[in-house]
């Protein structure tokens, strides 16, 4: 088989059975002539290209799967810690300034309200509550606010302009006044809808009553600058749809917890009254959660 040679003087390549004494093109002597090693595989062939792509993808897939499973535990712990921080934030703590895990364990208890009386929740800490609420597993947290007031925190979920919203609402012991909120979002517009995650917006809810005199949920978010009654909170300028999303989330979220909110410590009523109260206000879970 003919071998391939290159002459370094003239740069030409040529084929020969063995290394010649002189370059056949320019006549340079043997020291300038080098053999060109052929790779053996044509890297531009279809078969090679397909095999290359397939092998590469398989290697990368295994690598990524390995990394993801190796880091999953640490990541989940981070997400759980962040969720605890959000709940503490609703209770008025500055989550950046405290040891979230420690304060949460000391001050907050996770409870499950499926029927009266509520039970303490002992299972794994949840970080998303949307599907749990839909299944009637109403989690709520008992704890004290930064000011030392006894409070209940309920999770709420909703939809903004681009993606999901979620939040935590802290209510007082008689479950008729907001003590603090925390809202966040998946992908609202930075500088507009994303501002629902800022403190000034969330702090507007502090001290707002939840129910009007008829017992209906009246707490809502209105267009920026038009809040008049004690139930209304200013939305974010330029982010009407996100603000509406928060309003719906608050309303539906509280409605989903109507059973829990109606079950007050000062309630002298019996079971029958409670069932009636829920029916009267059309706040049964099936009606409201599926909207």
């Amino acid at each position: 088989m003919a071998k391939k040679f290159i002459c370094e003087q003239c740069g030409q390549t040529f084929e020969a059975a063995s290394k010649p004494d002189k370059c056949p093109i320019c006549g340079a002597d043997a020291s300038k002539i080098k053999e060109v090693k052929s790779k053996g595989i044509n890297t531009n062939g279809n078969v090679y290209t397909f095999c290359y792509a397939a092998v590469m993808v398989i290697i990368v897939a295994f690598l990524l799967a390995f990394v993801a499973s190796a880091l999953k535990e640490t990541q989940d712990a981070n997400v759980a810690n962040d969720t605890k921080g959000q709940i503490l934030s609703a209770l008025g703590y500055d989550k950046a300034a405290i040891d979230v895990a420690k304060v949460f364990d000391e001050k907050v208890k996770d409870n499950l309200y499926t029927s009266r009386p509520p039970q303490p929740y002992e299972g794994k800490f949840n970080t998303t509550y949307g599907s749990l609420i839909k299944n009637g597993e109403l989690h709520f947290f008992t704890g004290t606010t930064a000011e030392g007031e006894q409070a209940y925190v309920i999770p709420v979920v909703g939809r903004g302009l681009w993606g999901g919203l979620w939040g935590y609402i802290a209510v007082n012991e008689t479950k008729d006044k907001v003590l603090g909120t925390y809202f966040y979002h998946e992908s609202e517009t930075a500088g507009l809808g994303a501002r629902i995650g800022e403190k000034w917006f969330q702090d507007q809810f502090i001290g707002k009553p939840i129910f009007d005199e008829n017992g209906n949920i009246a707490l809502t978010v209105v267009k920026a600058g038009s809040a008049k009654t004690e139930f209304e909170v200013d939305g974010v300028t330029g982010a009407t749809l996100t603000s509406n999303g928060v309003a719906n989330m608050v309303k539906e979220g509280l409605a989903a917890y109507s059973k829990f909110l109606g079950d007050r410590p000062d309630c002298v009523c019996d079971e029958e009254w409670f069932e009636d109260w829920v029916k009267e206000n059309e706040l049964s879970e099936s009606n409201n959660v599926e909207q």
Binding site: V60, L71, Q75, N78, N81, G191
Partner: protein
């Protein structure tokens, strides 16, 4: 050692830091430079992430360069970059969660950062692993340097803090000083990048 740090290799490392800076001279990677520089900490993490990813994708592509089929070379480069970016993003989520929340989509968008594709096509496909590594580190640090400058200015004037710690004394606020809300907006970083380019060109006028 002398071979490892030959003049050519040194140039591959130092050029992108100054005379061929990816942001101020090549004007690449501007989008992320605007988005993540409102504070110093995310700016530095982003800069380091890009440095690590550029360096290692450069090395990997440089090692593979003779085997890569020419027709799918961009896809191969993308797969390598995407895999590295995913790994870095997972690591950030596991070890610096709050920063990864702040950086949000921009870590994922490193994949589309022109600096990476530019270096892979222009340098790593033609050069050996060691010069490619230096070139990647150099370009990454050149990018990070600008991010840090912009992040420093924006955090100082926008929030009155550096690395999260308040640095502007209380009495100035009492005397009527206010944090500049404009600095927090992405548009302002474009102006700062413009100023940096201006200063950089004025400084390097004679060398060109």
């Amino acid at each position: 050692m002398s071979k490892l740090f030959s003049d050519e290799n040194k140039a591959a490392f130092t050029n992108p830091l100054n005379l061929n800076n990816p942001i101020t001279v090549q004007v690449l990677g501007i989008c992320s430079a605007l988005a993540v520089t409102s504070q110093l900490k995310p700016a530095i993490v982003m800069g380091l992430s890009v440095t690590v990813i550029t360096a290692f994708s450069n090395v990997i592509i440089s090692l593979l360069r003779k085997t890569i089929p020419n027709r799918i070379r961009i896809i191969v480069q993308l797969v390598v970059v995407a895999a590295l970016v995913t790994i870095v993003s997972q690591l950030l989520k596991a070890y610096v969660y709050d920063v990864s929340v702040q950086l949000s989509v921009y870590v994922g968008l490193i994949i589309t950062n022109c600096i990476l594709m530019g270096r892979l096509e222009a340098f790593a496909m033609q050069n050996g692993p060691w010069p490619s590594f230096l070139d990647g580190i150099g370009n990454g640090l050149g990018y990070a340097a600008i991010l840090v400058i912009v992040g420093f200015v924006r955090e100082l004037f926008g929030f009155g803090t550096l690395w999260g710690y308040p640095v502007i004394p209380k009495f100035l606020y009492e005397a009527g000083y206010q944090n500049n809300g404009m600095m927090v907006m992405p548009a302002m970083s474009l102006i700062i990048v413009g100023c940096v380019i201006w200063a950089h060109r004025a400084y390097n006028k004679e060398e060109k």
